[in-house]
Subunit: 279 residues, 2 copies
């Protein structure tokens, strides 16, 4: 019998989208949530130094910074802009002391149907970013997104593909993000998680709720409200050696409209049930 | 330079959902489309013998019957009903002379989150159906559906998984359906198509159109209206030895509302462009 305790819970701030960074920090403190996943736009609102100071003053750990990526621009200007933006993200992750900079790699190259081209651009761009990441001690986490986002958000569509990509780079610099919402359906998931081993830089949890909403980005739910069996996946992640924080990240319009304290309380309760004990 | 000519085009009748079987048969004849993919509900409307007679009289080949499957009921009554329904589908496929009975295997077992359980039930049920399929000379085609349908329609979520499942059974009885709409995102697709080889019992084409509509089932488009690169996938299918008909199957509310003759003309034109020549 294993389990992941509440001392490893992190609240990704996208789960309480309607409040700012400082309010989310205070929310975590009120609900005894020891870590937080930050988003760059909210960090920018508050200011980078003020954000870093706020999380440190509260004693919170920063489990991730979301997000870098969108590396599939084929034109020189677009590509240069994407790389510059990702270098900025790396610097921000370093300042915030984030465990990982999450990379959502980008969809098809505008005007092209060639998936291989998009995937090669992603690999090349990560290769260009690695030295900067290593210099600043920031780990890059490639997130496999659900295949329904392949065309427009992320051409890395399965955990196996993310691992294959990460393996091309040094193990201290590039790994993967395992997000249950994106990978729960994969028949090869247990073997892929085992293969990832120390390359697992982040574990995020959110449920798959039926029916899919009109905006498929928002079809996530509190743990237990959907169909995902968190025990076996979490057991695989634990067996692979992952000892970091586990982020609850839920994009859901109804949850965003709920009072943040109610959401935080539900996040804690459901985490304890879904991840607190598994075979 | 290879290509798939119009002599191998089949129109799946779901593409012209608002007309009945006899009108769809006449439509194929008018547009010089040599084969048709039938649906059981429309066959039942017309009557099995009358349907078989209509396609024969028109000189059409029946490239598939859609569909059997939904094999993930866990309760004895539900399971018995599913098996009986699939035996009926096998008999219908035999009577119609269909190249394949397409299996959409079913989602999670009602009341259960255990994906493995659902997948075991699918495998067991196919095992029970194989003798009847062999007796009647009907081939069962396991269709991998897009992972966004894993929970509620089909727990077989990738071509590799469908192949692994098919390989457990005799090669004359159980194979796979390759549908571009469902599998185009898969980084392992070329290798999996090659591995499937003679197990490819059907090749269906439809495009992935952005944005996803509110009902994700209907997010398909005419070839060329979306993001799928049909050349490389078709080349892989051809290289794997598939020489059967290629079905255009599009679920799209706008296309259903268009005049059927316009749809059929577009299907032909786009097929010639997308599949007529590839490297």
């Amino acid at each position: 019998m294993g389990g992941i305790g509440l001392e490893r819970l992190s609240l990704n701030q996208a789960t309480v989208k309607h409040i700012g960074l400082e309010d989310t920090v205070a929310l975590c403190v009120r609900h005894d949530i020891p870590a937080i996943g930050l988003w760059r736009d909210r960090v920018a609102e508050t200011g980078l130094k003020a954000s870093a100071a706020a999380v440190r003053a509260a004693g919170l750990h920063v489990s991730s910074l979301c997000r870098g990526g969108f590396l599939t621009r084929g034109d020189p200007d677009g590509r240069a802009a994407a790389l510059a933006d990702n270098r900025a993200a790396i610097a921000e992750a370093a300042e915030l002391g984030a465990d990982v900079l999450v990379l959502v790699c980008g969809g098809l190259v505008p005007g092209h149907r060639d998936l291989g081209l998009a995937r090669r651009l992603v690999a090349d761009a990560i290769g260009e970013l690695v030295p900067e990441a290593q210099r600043l001690g920031v780990r890059l986490g490639i997130e496999a997104l659900h295949p329904m986002f392949c065309a427009d958000r992320c051409v890395i569509s399965g955990l196996g593909e993310a691992i294959d990509l990460a393996m091309r780079f040094p193990a201290d610099a590039v790994g993967v993000v395992v997000d249950t919402y994106h990978v729960w359906w994969d028949a090869r998931l247990p073997e892929e998680i085992a293969r990832a081993g120390p390359r697992i830089f982040s574990y995020q949890v959110g449920d798959w709720v039926l029916p899919l909403p009109a905006d498929a980005l928002l079809g996530r739910g509190h743990l237990g409200d959907g169909v995902i069996d968190f025990g076996p996946i979490s057991a695989s992640v634990a067996a692979a050696g992952y000892e970091g924080y586990v982020e609850v990240e839920i994009f859901n319009a109804g949850i965003w409209d709920a009072p943040a304290d109610q959401t935080a309380a539900t996040v804690r309760e459901r985490f304890a049930v879904a991840l607190g004990g598994f075979d």
